[in-house]
Structure formats: structure tokens, C-alpha cells
């Protein structure tokens, strides 16, 4: 048992589970404070999410909805995770995601492009934004967090302005892709049939997972991954070893931005959501990506599961009893859990310390008993 706990993979998993349990517990306590009557039921509903439906078909369809929304989150968390492995905190993923949203929607609605060029355009938009952050970081030593946050707002209002041209007259939302330009919708490739004809299940689902695996391989098995991680872990040593550390920083943020931008296309090109041109806050997807990355133990494969979980409880928030709680309560609970996710590393370290201590005690006890035998 203890031996298994020493394995870093197992540790990451256990730490994540502890975080989730703690988060749910605190969420429950918050609910108890607001109104004890519906607390238990609501927290159970949050955990159950689509399972609250009794009809299997409905269950399956709702599961599909959660899955469809998991993919952009996964891409954002891969974006954060990738940059983090190279020692950069790409909080600009949120803005790169916005840039991707703007690019794919505008290309789809204003120019009538097909889904593939739209998707590539979103990827490029995110990459360009990442490149700006990377350039500022490597040339002028501007902290990537500061320039990332600035660019988040710049991209939000640029997106609002541009997408106003393709919005519905009567509402602040962009037009439906399926009405204006169905060719821009991502193909279902028959996957929708697996989820009770949920049209939002598209090739984005397998694609995002393949990308997660690709990121994992890139980081662990390639020369580029070796260089990037070395740069992230010790910039001075990377320079000493003759690596182009400035190029590596820019390249990292370009890839990171591309991942976030592509993530946006994976949501908006399914038609599941439309852009609200009057929104005054940066969509939370990029920020939730941070939580998903950490909850997944900074492992691309782990991110698949953590992204799903976070999306699962976020969606589950819809099922709290609104008789007792205002509808925002769901956001509160999921954010408490997301917040706790940040503690994964802390829990891992605590676990290691405890293990080391108990081992020492054992070895001392052993010594004492040996001494007694003499």
C-alpha cells in the first residue's frame, strides 16, 4: 500500500481525489449555511449531473452535452499544462480562447468558410496571440501573466466588436451557424448516434483526445519536449547547453495559444453555444483550464478526466434546487471545487512528508529492537 503511494502517478491520482472530496464537502457546508433544507439533495444532484434524469435516452443525451463541452475545456487545460511544463503560466489561454472563438465564428458567419478552414483559422488566431505574449516575454522580459491578462481584455472587446457584425438583430447573440452556413458545423461522423442523436457530439471529441495524447508524446518522447522542459525547469542550464531559450519560449506560447484557439472552435463550431456580443467578462473556459490542468496532475492524459469532471460538476450545478438557492449557487459550488483543485500539489507534498516521517519512525523502531537483541 505504502509502496504504491510512493508512485508519483498514484500520488497525483489520490491527491486529486482528496481535493474533489474536500471541495464537495465545503460546497455542502456552504449550502447548509444558506439553507439546510435542500442542501443534501442539491449536492447529490451536482455530483449526479446527467444521471439525475431517469430516462436512459435523456441521460445519454445530457451526457453527450457534457462531453461536448468537455472538449474545449480539455484543450484549454492542455494549453495551460503545456506552457506550465515549460515554466510559463499562460493565463492568456482565456484570451487565446476568445481569439479562437472570434476567428472561427467570423469566418463561418461572415465569410461562409467550411469547418476545416474555420478551425485552422481559430488555431492560428490563438497562436498569434500566444506569439505576442512570447515575444514580449523573450525580447522585453514582460511577465507573461501581465501581458496575458491585458490581451485577454483586448481580445474580448475585439471579439465583441467584430462579432456584432454577424449577430442577430433582435438579440445580443451571434446568428445560428446551422441557419447561415451549415458547412461550418463540425461533422458528426456518426458519433451522434452513440449519444441518442446528440448533434453536438462531433469529431471534436476524438480529435481533442488525440491531441491530448499527442501533447503527452511531445512532452515525454521528443527532442523538442526535452528542450522545452529543460528551458522551463532551468533557463540558465538550457542556455548553457546551447538551446535557443528565447525561441523556445515563443514556440511554447505559440503552441499553447494554438491549443486554446482550437479549443474554442471545438465548442462554437458544434453550434452548442453562440457568442454573446455584449458580454463584459472573459469566458471562464481558459481559467477553468487552469484548474483542470492542476487537478489532472499536470498530465495530458489526466487532463482528459479532470476536464470531464470539472465540466460534469459545472453542468451539475444546473440541477440544484432553485426553490432554495439562487441559480448562481451552482457556479459557487463548482468554483469552490475548482479552487480546491489548486491544492493538488500541496496535498502531494504533504503526503510525501507524512510518508517520509512514518518510514523514519519505522526504521528507528527497527534499530531499537535490533539493539535490544544484542
Amino acid at each position: 500500500m505504502k509502496k504504491a503511494l510512493k508512485n508519483p502517478g498514484v500520488q497525483a491520482f489520490v491527491a486529486s481525489i482528496i481535493c474533489i472530496i474536500l471541495g464537495l464537502l465545503i460546497g455542502y457546508i456552504v449550502l447548509l449555511f444558506i439553507n439546510p433544507e435542500g442542501a443534501a439533495e442539491s449536492i447529490v444532484n451536482v455530483i449526479k449531473n446527467f444521471l439525475t434524469w431517469s430516462r436512459p435516452n435523456k441521460k445519454l443525451q445530457q451526457f453527450g452535452n457534457t462531453l461536448a463541452k468537455t472538449m474545449p475545456l480539455l484543450m484549454c487545460s492542455l494549453s495551460i499544462l503545456f506552457a506550465y511544463k515549460v515554466g510559463l503560466f499562460n493565463i492568456g489561454a482565456a484570451g487565446q480562447y476568445v481569439a479562437g472563438s472570434c476567428a472561427c465564428l467570423y469566418a463561418a458567419l461572415a465569410w461562409g468558410w467550411g469547418w476545416l478552414p474555420c478551425m485552422i483559422f481559430a488555431l492560428v488566431a490563438g497562436a498569434v496571440l500566444g506569439a505576442i505574449v512570447g515575444f514580449l516575454k523573450s525580447r522585453c522580459n514582460v511577465n507573461e501573466v501581465i501581458s496575458g491578462i491585458m490581451l485577454n481584455w483586448i481580445s474580448l472587446y475585439t471579439a465583441n466588436t467584430l462579432l456584432t457584425k454577424v449577430k442577430e438583430v433582435a438579440s445580443p447573440y451571434t446568428m445560428y451557424i446551422k441557419d447561415v452556413n451549415p458547412s461550418a458545423l463540425l461533422p458528426n461522423a456518426g458519433l451522434d448516434k452513440l449519444f441518442n442523436k446528440n448533434q453536438y457530439i462531433t469529431i471534436a471529441v476524438p480529435l481533442a483526445m488525440i491531441i491530448a495524447i499527442a501533447v503527452s508524446i511531445l512532452l515525454s518522447k521528443t527532442k523538442l519536449g526535452y528542450e522545452l522542459k529543460a528551458t522551463g525547469s532551468n533557463k540558465n542550464a538550457a542556455k548553457y547547453a546551447g538551446m535557443a531559450e528565447n525561441r523556445n519560449i515563443i514556440l511554447t506560447l505559440v503552441i499553447s495559444g494554438a491549443l486554446a484557439g482550437l479549443g474554442a472552435a471545438m465548442l462554437y463550431l458544434t453550434g452548442y453555444m453562440r457568442w454573446e456580443c455584449t458580454q463584459s467578462s472573459v469566458p471562464g473556459m481558459g481559467f477553468n483550464g487552469i484548474a483542470a490542468a492542476f487537478l489532472g496532475g499536470l498530465n495530458p492524459i489526466g487532463a482528459i478526466f479532470s476536464s470531464f469532471f470539472i465540466q460534469h460538476i459545472t453542468d451539475g450545478g444546473q440541477y440544484v434546487n432553485t426553490n432554495f438557492y439562487s441559480s448562481q449557487i451552482s457556479d459557487l459550488i463548482s468554483s469552490v471545487i475548482i479552487y480546491l483543485c489548486g491544492f493538488v500539489l500541496f496535498i502531494k507534498i504533504t503526503m510525501n512528508n507524512l510518508l517520509a516521517k512514518s518510514e523514519e519512525k519505522k526504521s528507528r523502531a527497527l534499530k531499537v529492537s535490533e539493539g535490544g537483541d544484542k
Binding site: 521528443t222 532551468n234 547547453a241 546551447g242 516521517k357 523514519e360
Partner: protein
């Protein structure tokens, strides 16, 4: 019964996974100079931190004048009259000597400073112990030796009875060291008790009355210095007999491998250039050592040479090729190997495994990377295992051990293995033995000599006098960014070397 100023009895301090101090007893007599000897990682610092209240021991007691005391923080230590001169001085650069001495215990009347009073006390102390300082000079303008005297005055001003010196000679010239030794003897004669932490055996033999030895967190013993020898002390410290002298044949210099002409490198801390117009040559089959006191431009010289920092002007030629404008990678491929000064900052990626660190300079080689950009893990493992075996790099789990978890000596061995196995024409070794124990030093010196004998050019940058005298075939002394003398280690003395290092003597040196 003998009167002890401070006793630390059966101190045990544990950290997760390691016992830093295991049942250590240290007894400091009144008015004695007591040396604490041990290699890096032997537990000296931890023990002193316990005495200073920075750590609480799990077991053991501390007694002051025979009475058990509890030291919870440095303020408690101060109140008991325990003071410390840290290895890196804790002085405010832009304040005067006097300001630094009274800082924290400023004499005042209703919040107004009474500097006159303070000045009188400082002058009296300075007179009494022969600690000559100018109270109105700013710290940034005075020499390191004077800064150290300021630190000592700081302790005396606070009426400390027990003075701890943490490796005080590391930053001093030979002349300053002998002054310090005299000061310490004066202090002891006046009844102060001194704990002198060091791993330099001849200093301990010279100044200390008794010496306690720690090894790997354990207490080995206490000896009277007049009844022991350097050999015996080092055997206690390392646990085996050590050969101090470097065995080597006469050098047989060949063609010029490295030629530097008029190299100038800017400083990062001040406006002047750190390296000024330096020219030198290193030939195949010789070890050239750049000696000097820390901070005289040696680091910047190496940064400029290796390409980590840009040159202001100058020309570098390696094996006949102009490499002034070459990138670090190009220099490395052309045959320059560099054992960096700071193995944690430059030498290793600490979070990488040992094997990944061993290929840090060669990972792009077709042997380790496929044309498609994938790492050849199998080859990397074989190569790492070969180096680990050949250079006897010891680690917990072999090739997959995280570099961070390895001991300093083995980290250094890994770097040396990597840099030497590249088969360089020029090997630059910057303080290659810094912070290592005697056994590892012996090994590294042998490796440098072996490289020389194999016909390579070796450029050694060192601060350790013993190393400067023992290892190289030629010594160049660097003072304030200039080469001020060329010496033959077989003919010169430590005193002469010291004069050059302190800038008191200089020749015109032609490369």
C-alpha cells in the same frame, strides 16, 4: 568540573527522510577557540541553526554556563550573548560602518539617535581588539576584510560572549586571513569563546585550541589541536586517509588551443567593465589556472568566453578558428567543454533524471535523436549507464535518479563525466571542487591532470589556494578584471600569490 560557556548535549535534529544531526555533543570552553570541522552536508550548519534558535532539536539540551536554556529564535540567542558572523555578510551596502553596527540596537533618546555615544563605544571596541575600521565609510566602498571586521564589531557591540564564525576565510586574501587569525586570538585572550566553522585544516591547526569533527550528521570526536595532525583530522572528517598532493608528470605543452585577445566583458552589477582587456593563451597538454579572490571578474571572464554573456570587445580563437561570434552550441561542437561555476544554476537541470542530464550537451546527436525528432531512449540509457560506471557516479536509482536528490559530489561527477566524455579540445573548469569533500576533490584533480596528459588544454578557474598551487602548470592572477601576473607554481609561494591577488603587486603580462 570544567566551566563551559555553551554546551550542546546529545542534539538530534531530523528532517523528512534525513537525520541532519544525530546525537551530537559540542562543548565550548570559556575563552577557547573551538573549531567545528566537517564536509559539506556533515551537519555543521544545522547544528549552528539549532544553537541560534532557527531550528528546534527533537532531542538534546543546550546549556549556557551550566544552566539549561531554551532557544526558540535568534532573539533568544542574542539575549544569551550568542553572535554569529555569517559566511555571506548581512550588511546594508549603502549604510556606513557605524550605522551597520548599531542597526537594531540603536541608542536613542525618545526616538532620536544618539550616534555620539555609539561611536565612542565602537571606537573603544575597535581599539581594544585591534579591529581597524573607518566608522564613516560606506560598506560598498570598503574591502571584504573590513566588512568582516564590521560584522565582528556588530557582535561585540551587542556584548556577545560567544562568537560563531561561519567559514570566515573563504572570501579573504592570505594576508587578511592571518590578520583575522590574530583578531580571533585576541578575542579569545579577552575571554570571548569562539566557535570556528571550517573545512580548511591548516587554519584550524593554526588558530583553534580544540576541534570537534562531524561526519554525515554524526559526532566523530573532539581532539586537542596540539595533539593531532592534519592527516589525522582529515581522516576523521572523511573517514579514510586522503592524498593531498596531486601526482603529476611535468607538462608537455603543444600547440595553442585557445587564444584570447583583448577580451572585455561588461559587468552586470556596476558600470565598469568586469573584465578588462584580457589576453591569454592555453596550449594543448597544459593546465592554466586563473587565480584570484572571488569577484575579480573571473565569473564574467568565463561567461564571455563560453558565450553566456556578450563581449564588449575582443577576439577568441579556438584551434585556429575565430569563435568570437559563435553561438554556445557552435563553441561546444567545436570542442569547448565547460564545467560551470554553479552546478545548480548552469550545470544541471535538477528536475531531470541523471541520464537526461548526461546528454544535456549532446541530446541532438543522431545517436540520441531520430531524424523525426524522437529521443532514442534505449541509446540514452546505455550511454548513461556507461558514464555512470566509468566515472563512478553514485545515485539512489542509477540513470533514472532525479539530479536534485543526488549529493553535491556526485552531481559534480556527473557534470565532469558529461563534459569530459564529449572529448573536448579545451576544458574550462570553474571552481570544479567548490563545496566538495576531500575525497571528491582528489578525484576531480586526477581527472583534470588526466585530460592534460591526454593532450587537451585545460583552463582552471579557482579560488582555493591549495588548488591553485597544486594543480596547474601556469598561474595567471586576475585582479579587478585584469591579468596582473603570471606565476610558476613550482617557484612561487602562497605569500607572493597573495600579494598579486590583493593587487599589491603586478607585472605587465603579455599573452
Amino acid at each position: 568540573m570544567e566551566q563551559y560557556a555553551v554546551e550542546m548535549l546529545h542534539i538530534t535534529k531530523r528532517f523528512p527522510g534525513i537525520i541532519a544531526n544525530d546525537d551530537i555533543t559540542l562543548q565550548l570552553k570559556k575563552g577557547e577557540i573551538h573549531a567545528l570541522l566537517g564536509e559539506n552536508g556533515a551537519g555543521k550548519s544545522t547544528l549552528m541553526s539549532v544553537l541560534f534558535g532557527l531550528y528546534q532539536p527533537e532531542e538534546g539540551v543546550i546549556k549556557k554556563d551550566g544552566v539549561e536554556v531554551k532557544i526558540n529564535n535568534p532573539n533568544d540567542a542574542n539575549a544569551l550573548g550568542i553572535g554569529m558572523v555569517h559566511q555571506h555578510f548581512k550588511l546594508v551596502e549603502c549604510f556606513t560602518v557605524l550605522d551597520n553596527i548599531i542597526m537594531g540596537v540603536e541608542p536613542n533618546k525618545m526616538g532620536f539617535l544618539q550616534k555620539k555615544e555609539a561611536r565612542e563605544k565602537v571606537m573603544a571596541l575597535s581599539e581594544k581588539y585591534g579591529l581597524h575600521v573607518d566608522p564613516d565609510a560606506k560598506i560598498e566602498d570598503i574591502t571584504v576584510g573590513m566588512q568582516q571586521r564590521t560584522e565582528i564589531l556588530k557582535m561585540l557591540y551587542r556584548d556577545n560572549e560567544i562568537l560563531i564564525f561561519d567559514e570566515p576565510t573563504a572570501v579573504l586574501t592570505p594576508q587578511e586571513i592571518s590578520e583575522l587569525m590574530q583578531i580571533m586570538k585576541n578575542l579569545a585572550a579577552e575571554g570571548k569563546s569562539i566557535l570556528f566553522i571550517s573545512h580548511k585544516l591548516n587554519e584550524i591547526m593554526e588558530v583553534a585550541d580544540r576541534c570537534s569533527v562531524l561526519r554525515k550528521g554524526k559526532y566523530i570526536g573532539t581532539v586537542e589541536t596540539k595533539n593531532t595532525t592534519i592527516e589525522q583530522l582529515s581522516a576523521m572528517m572523511v573517514g579514510r586517509n586522503v592524498n593531498f598532493h596531486v601526482e603529476k608528470k611535468p607538462a608537455n605543452p603543444g600547440e595553442v588551443i585557445l587564444q584570447i585577445d583583448n577580451m572585455t566583458v561588461a559587468s552586470k552589477v556596476h558600470k565598469n567593465n568586469a573584465v578588462k582587456n584580457v589576453s591569454l593563451k592555453v596550449r594543448a597538454g597544459e593546465i592554466v589556472c586563473i587565480a584570484g579572490i572571488d569577484g575579480n571578474g573571473q565569473s564574467e571572464f568565463v561567461y564571455g568566453l563560453s558565450g553566456l554573456e556578450p563581449l564588449v570587445s575582443g577576439k577568441i580563437t579556438l584551434c585556429g578558428k575565430d569563435i568570437t561570434k559563435s553561438s554556445i552550441r557552435q563553441k561546444s561542437v567545436l570542442g569547448m567543454s565547460h564545467i560551470p561555476e554553479d552546478r545548480h544554476k548552469h550545470g544541471l537541470v535538477l528536475d531531470y533524471s541523471l541520464e537526461d542530464n548526461l546528454i544535456l550537451q549532446t541530446y541532438f546527436d543522431p545517436e540520441f535523436t531520430t531524424p523525426a525528432g524522437f529521443l532514442r531512449r534505449k541509446n540514452i540509457r546505455e550511454y548513461a549507464d556507461k558514464l555512470i560506471e566509468q566515472y563512478d557516479v553514485r545515485s539512489g536509482q542509477g540513470a533514472v535518479t532525479t539530479a536534485r536528490s543526488m549529493s553535491g559530489g556526485n552531481q559534480q561527477k556527473a557534470i565532469i563525466a558529461r563534459e569530459i566524455d564529449k572529448a573536448p579540445e579545451l576544458l574550462i573548469a570553474v571552481q570544479p571542487t567548490r563545496g566538495l569533500d576531500v575525497g571528491a576533490i582528489e578525484y576531480i584533480h586526477q581527472q583534470l591532470v588526466a585530460q592534460r596528459d591526454a593532450g587537451k588544454a585545460v583552463l582552471l578557474i579557482s579560488l582555493e589556494l591549495d588548488e591553485v598551487m597544486d594543480v596547474p602548470d601556469r598561474i595567471l592572477v586576475m585582479y579587478e578584471g585584469e591579468i596582473v601576473g603570471e606565476l610558476d607554481p613550482k617557484k612561487t609561494t602562497q605569500e607572493e600569490l597573495g600579494l598579486y591577488m590583493a593587487g599589491a603587486k603586478r607585472d605587465e603580462v603579455k599573452a
